[in-house]
């Protein structure tokens, strides 16, 4: 197996050669996206030689919304609803890191019960995001049952989140200083029931999808990214853990109550597309486990939110806080000049870092592997564009 540097050299050589003889009839230039059922808000320019991909160029930026610039004109509370737009399925996690950073800048600590509720919402949102991702992975591989089942079961978790937060997808639940409101009556029992049912369904997913010999045939040993390559490319989250690096922000730099929770960091050493597709599934299982512990350890009494005034002033300075989202490490770098608004806000998303690995995985693989490799990178186009 060639090293990453060899591959980069090879890709550069091919790119130069392709631009040199662009009229070569042997190569076919395909534009996968943005109006292609297998791309999303995103485009990959692909050159194929027969069935082999010789050149791949991910072209992002079709859904750039200027979230970072927009944040500079709104105060810390007003920023919450629009900052969760890049990935609405995982909205608690993307606001979680923001809340942590702002709490550090303002200098407050959320009450203990608030931290627990926030973690529960974050884990539920991780499941919502991953079921959606899994559904699309199923339909990308032509498995229509795997599209319908997670999409249906996702509704149960969404109903749970609706009870908890009042909204179905974009919750705006986590705020600097805790969570917006307390858990509703009878939430614990309801949550446990749904989680138990969901774990049963997860076993069925494994039976119909992950243990299917046809799926294993087409994903195992495809798109190999070794441990060293993964670290050099700077991928994160499930993609990094599929390459055999047990790196999880919840373990490495625990935030809120995660240091009190007992959970395993799921990783696999096979480094292939199957591992990348399997790790998020294992994460969902682990999330169910975590939610059960959180519900068990949560204090019954107490406030959930440290109240701050709307136009609160932050201390001048800078901060960087990150959480483990559904797609990997998600961090906020915020500079404050002592005013009521961020001077500069930068979001570092897992999607953007993972998509950088795409050309290295695609070149040399077959056209039929393109959707399997691409979507296993746990990429959400809108989050990458921000």
């Amino acid at each position: 197996m060639s090293t990453l540097d060899d591959k980069i050299n090879e890709i550069n050589r091919l790119a130069i050669q392709i631009t040199k003889d662009n009229d070569d009839d042997r190569l076919m230039n395909l534009s996968i996206g943005p109006q292609h059922p297998g791309s999303g808000h995103f485009r990959i320019v692909i050159k194929v030689d027969g069935d082999y991909i010789v050149y791949a160029d991910p072209d992002i930026g079709y859904v750039h919304r200027g979230e970072e610039k927009m944040s500079e004109t709104r105060n810390f509370i007003q920023n919450i609803p629009h900052l969760e737009r890049p990935v609405i399925h995982d909205s608690t996690n993307i606001i979680y890191a923001y809340s942590l950073a702002i709490e550090e800048l303002i200098g407050i600590n959320p009450p203990r019960r608030g931290q627990f509720v926030r973690a529960i919402a974050a884990e539920l949102d991780r499941i919502v995001y991953t079921t959606y991702w899994l559904a699309i992975y199923g339909i990308f591989l032509g498995h229509s049952t795997m599209f319908m089942w997670p999409t249906g079961d996702r509704e149960l978790i969404i109903d749970l989140l609706e009870r908890l937060t009042g909204h179905r997808v974009t919750h705006a639940f986590s705020v600097p200083g805790g969570v917006r409101n307390d858990i509703p009556y009878n939430f614990k029992e309801k949550c446990l029931t749904q989680i138990n049912y969901f774990e049963k369904r997860l076993k069925e997913y494994e039976d119909i999808f992950y243990n299917n010999p046809l799926l294993r045939q087409r994903t195992e040993g495809v798109g190999i990214m070794s441990k060293e390559d993964a670290i050099k490319l700077g991928v994160t989250g499930s993609v990094l853990r599929a390459s055999g690096v047990p790196y999880d922000i919840r373990k490495v730099e625990p935030y809120d109550v995660y240091d009190e929770i007992d959970f395993k960091v799921q990783y696999m050493k096979s480094c292939d597309t199957f591992a990348r597709a399997y790790i998020p599934y294992l994460d969902m299982k682990e999330s169910c486990h975590i939610i059960r512990q959180l519900l068990d350890k949560m204090p019954d009494e107490g406030s959930v939110r440290e109240k701050i005034v709307g136009n609160v002033k932050a201390q001048p300075g800078e901060t960087y806080r990150r959480v483990e989202s559904g797609r990997g490490a998600l961090g906020y770098y915020i500079i404050s000049d002592g005013g009521t608004k961020p001077y500069r806000l930068k979001i570092s998303t897992g999607s953007f870092r993972n998509i950088l690995a795409l050309p290295f995985l695609l070149v040399g693989s077959k056209l039929g592997d393109m959707p399997a490799i691409y979507w296993a990178l746990n990429y959400w186009p809108i989050e990458a564009d921000r």
């Binding site: 059922p37 046809l214 087409r218 077959k366 393109m370």
Partner: protein, 433 residues
């Protein structure tokens, strides 16, 4: 009701409808009826019950219950009826339509959905009709630079080729459109046209994704046609005939699937590949090449190709039933008379209900068992779609060229051993003839 023109008058509206009816009636009486009678004057009219069937006699017989049966009997035994209605196109199209509906409902139940629900009040039974009407009203877009004659012809060619395979399938003893002595070879020869049509159409579309899809269709069908043919070879050896009716008749003691289970499996897998169904839907792989060779089809063009592919599904399921499941053979469950004692009854209506000359218990029994078997095979083909992902082209070629061909030879040698050992075949211990 916001779409009325300002100068709308209800009287004018009714008047125009009356005028339209008058024009149509005038056209029929003055033009169409004379044309029909002049044509009938020149063509030889058939004889029914010793009388020449003039139009007048035809209408009088249709209203007289006691004389309706002979005329129905006469039409049932014409070649046109066979080709267009019963064992031919109409029957197959009906089964194809039912298959589409059952597929949607079955997959919906597997995937915890409800499927079609609203069209036709009862479980969306008219969904197919609604879809067909929608496709009919859609504009057909021809891509710029397309090879127009082939582009327009390919969907029609697809349906007619599928209908040609259907014509070879015997539904009951003697009930087949084309009773060819080399029926099996004819079926394979006609099936060989499909990749050609796919490739021609994809080339004529002048687009990249259809072109890749067409090439994939070609690769796939060539890779799977050889195991497809080879898996039918032991059947021919055992029945010593290429006539599909004879092959079905030769299985009256035991079905071929009991001796050739591996070949039946290979035939089933290969027919899934021929049909381009999941897990072998590479030529239409949505997430890779949009819709494959169907990308540029619009409106009824797409509808025709879908109809063709479901006719092909019926034809291949029928071929499987004939080759491996004994065709129409099965225990006799229909009584010798439809209504006991009706034949000798004094009441003309009851006597008519006995369906003299139309009701043949052996034929009806054969059709019944054939239908049961074909429904089971079609359901098996449908369920595969719900539980499998798509496979990759290199795995597909490897499966077709290497694994399936080797598998077919195992059973071929088993059959040859049994024949040379004197167990089956002509003069064998369990001989069928």
């Amino acid at each position: 009701m916001g779409s009325l023109t300002p100068d709308f008058r209800f009287g004018n509206f009714v008047g125009s409808i009356v005028w339209l009816v008058f024009v149509i009636l005038a056209l029929v009486t003055l033009l169409i009826l004379p044309i029909i009678f002049f044509t009938l004057f020149y063509i030889p009219l058939p004889e029914v019950d010793g009388e020449v069937l003039t139009p007048y006699l035809f209408f009088s017989m249709m209203v007289d219950p006691s004389r309706t049966l002979p005329i129905v009997q006469f039409f049932v035994h014409t070649d046109l009826f066979r080709a267009a209605v019963f064992p031919g196109f109409g029957f197959a199209a009906l089964i194809a339509a039912a298959t589409i509906f059952v597929e949607r409902k079955l997959l919906a139940k597997m995937q915890l959905r409800v499927g079609p629900l609203y069209a036709g009040k009862v479980e969306g039974i008219f969904q197919l009709l609604a879809d067909g009407l929608k496709l009919l009203t859609k504009e057909i877009i021809v891509p710029s630079g397309a090879d127009k004659p082939i582009f327009w012809l390919a969907p029609i060619m697809y349906v007619s080729t599928a209908a040609a395979v259907v014509a070879l399938i015997p539904v009951a003893s003697g009930w087949v459109v084309a009773d060819v002595d080399v029926g099996l070879i004819a079926a394979f020869a006609i099936l060989g046209f499909f990749p050609l049509i796919a490739l021609l159409f994809s080339w004529a579309s002048n687009s990249k994704f259809p072109f890749i899809g067409g090439l994939r269709a070609l690769h796939q069908m060539i890779a799977f046609e050889i195991p497809f043919f080879l898996s039918a070879l032991p059947v021919v050896i055992m029945s010593s005939s290429l006539n599909l009716s004879d092959i079905a008749r030769s299985q009256n003691i035991f079905w071929n699937i009991f001796i050739l289970p591996i070949n039946a499996f290979v035939f089933f897998i290969s027919s899934l590949a021929e049909l381009e169904r999941i897990p072998f839907d590479l030529p239409e792989a949505e997430s890779e090449i949009v819709a494959g060779w169907l990308t540029e089809t619009t409106g009824m063009m797409y509808g025709l190709i879908q109809l063709g592919s479901y006719l092909k599904l019926y034809a291949l399921a029928g071929l499987f039933v004939v080759l491996f499941l004994g065709g129409w053979s099965g225990p006799q469950i229909f009584p010798p008379e439809l209504i006991p004692g009706a034949h000798d009854s004094n009441f003309p209506l009851l006597q008519m209900l006995a369906l003299d000359g139309l009701y043949n218990p052996v034929t009806v029994n054969g059709i019944f068992w054939f239908l049961i078997k074909i429904i089971v095979v079609i359901l098996l083909m449908l369920i595969v779609r719900g539980i499998n992902p798509r496979i990759r082209i290199d795995i597909l070629l490897h499966t077709g060229w290497y694994k399936l061909i080797v598998l077919t030879f195992i059973n071929l040698f088993v059959v040859l051993m049994l024949i040379y050992g004197g167990i089956i075949g002509p003069g064998g211990l369990i001989s069928t003839r």
